[in-house]
Symmetry: C2
Subunit: 281 residues, 2 copies
């Protein structure tokens, strides 16, 4: 497994492999089985897989969150080697941002809701760093987790609107046995917090059942949010039923249409997100 820290070294490698198909798995490190499922999928679909590890400062709107973001570079490399990843790109901040970025990307209504509404500037930062990675790695395909579903839709828009010659692949959420979606942030929970955290996935499932049974999505989401908040463990940012393409909130789901139920909540000061894609039958 090759590990590159410099853009110029990665580009030299990229130039040397020519037309081979390349899968890119962009990560911020602190890898878990969710990331590894992306690597596995990329390996199945491409001749070579590049995993990038870069905690991107400009997508954090909260300095404390950036500081607390887990960093486990040695374990990451061990996991990637075992997974058969061919190339790791681990630039430092100076390498990715030799000068401050001055342009901004704006994704319209898609970034005005959910994570965009709660994390100002987040998707600009995501769009900038992913554009950079696309232009540095020049992959055939790029792999994103469904857990960050809004991020996936934002990147899809970036690829479509700027005509990047890259196929995007959205991979299913990997969960622990009790339903908790894997996240690098989970390791910041106490044992007690960790025991409570699966309530987020249970909330999504309960909301889905009740909406499928014809209850009003708004009332269901509001009722379940209140219930979570009243446990004393959670501060719910949002629990929303949305169109799975536009992320606009949906009050009256239609048959045979695809929706996404999204939740974001803090527990012990750690902000977790999860979602459920389903078709309203």
């Amino acid at each position: 497994m090759k590990v590159y820290h410099k853009v110029s070294d990665l580009r030299a490698w990229r130039g040397s492999v020519g037309n081979l198909s390349i899968g890119l798995v962009p990560t911020m490190g602190a890898l878990h089985a969710g990331h590894l499922s992306l690597v596995e999928r990329s390996k199945a679909e491409n001749q070579l897989t590049v995993c990038s590890i870069f905690v991107n400062p400009i997508q954090f709107n909260d300095a404390q969150d950036l500081k607390n973001y887990p960093r486990t570079p040695e374990e990451d490399l061990t996991l990637l080697k075992a997974a058969g990843c061919e190339v790791v790109f681990m630039p430092d901040e100076k390498e990715m941002y030799p000068a401050p970025v001055r342009m901004r990307l704006y994704f319209g209504a898609l970034e005005e809701v959910m994570e965009g509404a709660h994390r100002p500037g987040h998707f600009n930062g995501v769009g900038i760093v992913v554009s950079k990675l696309f232009n540095i790695v020049e992959p055939t395909r790029a792999y994103f987790g469904q857990k960050d579903f809004q991020q996936y839709l934002i990147i899809k828009r970036l690829v479509e609107d700027l005509s990047y010659p890259i196929e995007l692949v959205c991979c299913p959420i990997v969960r622990q046995a009790d339903g908790l979606a894997l996240s690098s942030r989970n390791m910041r929970l106490s044992p007690q917090g960790r025991k409570q955290a699966p309530a987020l996935y249970q909330a999504l499932q309960e909301a889905k059942q009740r909406i499928l049974q014809g209850e009003s999505p708004k009332q269901v989401c509001s009722h379940i949010s209140d219930k979570l908040n009243s446990t004393g463990w959670f501060q719910v940012n949002y629990l929303t039923l949305a169109d799975s393409q536009t992320l606009m909130e949906v009050s009256h789901p239609q048959p045979n249409s695809e929706y996404v139920l999204c939740i974001a909540a803090s527990i012990e000061g750690v902000r977790l997100i999860d979602n459920l894609l389903f078709t309203f039958a």
Copy 2:
């Protein structure tokens, strides 16, 4: 010379030439010797040259200007063939914009002045179409004319901030014998208007001389603008001395620094621009 109308055909060609160096000359057609100087430069520096011809609707803020923009596709192809251009990319609007673009690019203070201030949305449209062309053609180098100097700086920022692996080349303004900068829009002038038009270049030269002699840039520009307006032929949008990197207006030029004098004015309803780069000695 190959002529492609489809993105997929251009990409198939691009895939077939692999690592050969490729120069891209993006144009809106109605080609003149200015464009051909870019093709010539690209041919000297690359193994293959692609010229794109696409009148980009989303960079026009004025529907009448878009409608009146000259279109001479047959003459363009004749000129490009004679110039030895290898590939022409001539997509139609549906091909470049199969769906409406929903994201926006914002270039900060650089787009708040001059053309950006007078043509709202113009540089977003330029940035989108150039990003698309970069991602479709994947050139080694891209050639832009100094006549659209602000556009060149905007594209430079795009390349730097998003890490495009492309070398930008800014080529000198090509002028007619009487000093008028070549522009596709010149052909919309009447013979009388055409006779007046070189006054723009004379204005730039006079302003430069007076600023070099120590006069206040603001007073010089304001005085010369008034003179042009008083002829009855011109409506000056701006005449400004600016820093050649940031385009911020400069009141007190410093020794050994590079500046750009920029002018935009309408004559017979045709909006022309010109500029002069120089070092304040």
